[in-house]
Subunit: 115 residues, 4 copies
Amino acid sequence: MSLDDLAAELRHFAADRDWERFHTPKNLAISLAVEVGELLEHVQWRTDDEIAELIRSPEGKAAIAEELADVCIYLVRLADVLDVDLLAAARSKVAANAARYPAEEVRGSAEKRSR
Amino acid sequence: MSLDDLAAELRHFAADRDWERFHTPKNLAISLAVEVGELLEHVQWRTDDEIAELIRSPEGKAAIAEELADVCIYLVRLADVLDVDLLAAARSKVAANAARYPAEEVRGSAEKRSR
Amino acid sequence: MSLDDLAAELRHFAADRDWERFHTPKNLAISLAVEVGELLEHVQWRTDDEIAELIRSPEGKAAIAEELADVCIYLVRLADVLDVDLLAAARSKVAANAARYPAEEVRGSAEKRSR
Amino acid sequence: MSLDDLAAELRHFAADRDWERFHTPKNLAISLAVEVGELLEHVQWRTDDEIAELIRSPEGKAAIAEELADVCIYLVRLADVLDVDLLAAARSKVAANAARYPAEEVRGSAEKRSR
């Protein structure tokens, strides 16, 4: 399955349920924030070590994977509704970041690290 | 380019800059929230019609695409760090949603729509 | 009850439970994002009219009030942990916004509105 | 200055600029997420020690205080628009949390800590 396949599947999913009218860019962007909030719940009170431990348990990993899936679903759906090529946009951004943060200059430096 | 290619590229990007130590699950989940916040800035005060107008302009569309790219980059990086197969997780979730919201039952109903 | 009283109550609440070690600025900032996500869930798929209708029902209003309370609690707790005077900071910011957006200039203009 | 004073000031600020029509509950809830995102930017790549260091510098503390102020402003404005008594709601929630997490039971326990 590719991202395009997922986008197509989500398009049909919405159409089959007559949910396209809910899937405005504004609502889908809000959904992204809701799902990222649910993801953050899992790391909210845990140290890095406790998060690593959570991930080692199958239940913990499945719970986190489900939150990542939700973020992915709304991101792909939003990009599709906006007719944005997500992978092309990501590739452009990575190239821009590479030019902005040359490896030899920023290595080991906390100051110039990308946000 | 596939999602796996993007994940590999981001892995090398971080390694080349010695940034892996910053890319903890907690920090990357925070990054997702930061980037979603930047995306929301574009829709914050706009009506749906104004957002549609924004998207029709090349500059507006490029600005939104860049925010989506940032969300995508951190999502793919986080999934890679956690060793989660993002597309497999998304596919599972879509299947679960399809079972939870049968098209014939929820069509036209705002109440049973997925959150 | 004032904001200061609330801050003091939250300080004792955390101390009584030995939770101060969890209440790092980073964790509390994450908590804010989690709670704002829960607030956004209530408006995610609703139109402005549907939100107005929700607010008119006692249950709907209580549910929203509880989410606002959670955001308020973590905001006040975070400001207290950081030793920031929230109301003084807000007053300064309002004054800065008033200078930045003179009423006579921005009235009716969508472009210059504050973010 | 009290929270009520701040709410009144924000009400006049919006009225003077004819911005009430932008201040829908949905838009203001989005604004909260935008501002929390800006707050998170400051902690995104920093360890707890680095955040403590940031707060010790007057510039760092002022920058964080400004983000907290923005969150406070939109929270108070949203509560006012929705006619929710923020402090009363927070007080109720703290009382509910106190009943839910009795100090003697949860002390030292990471499991039962409040989210």
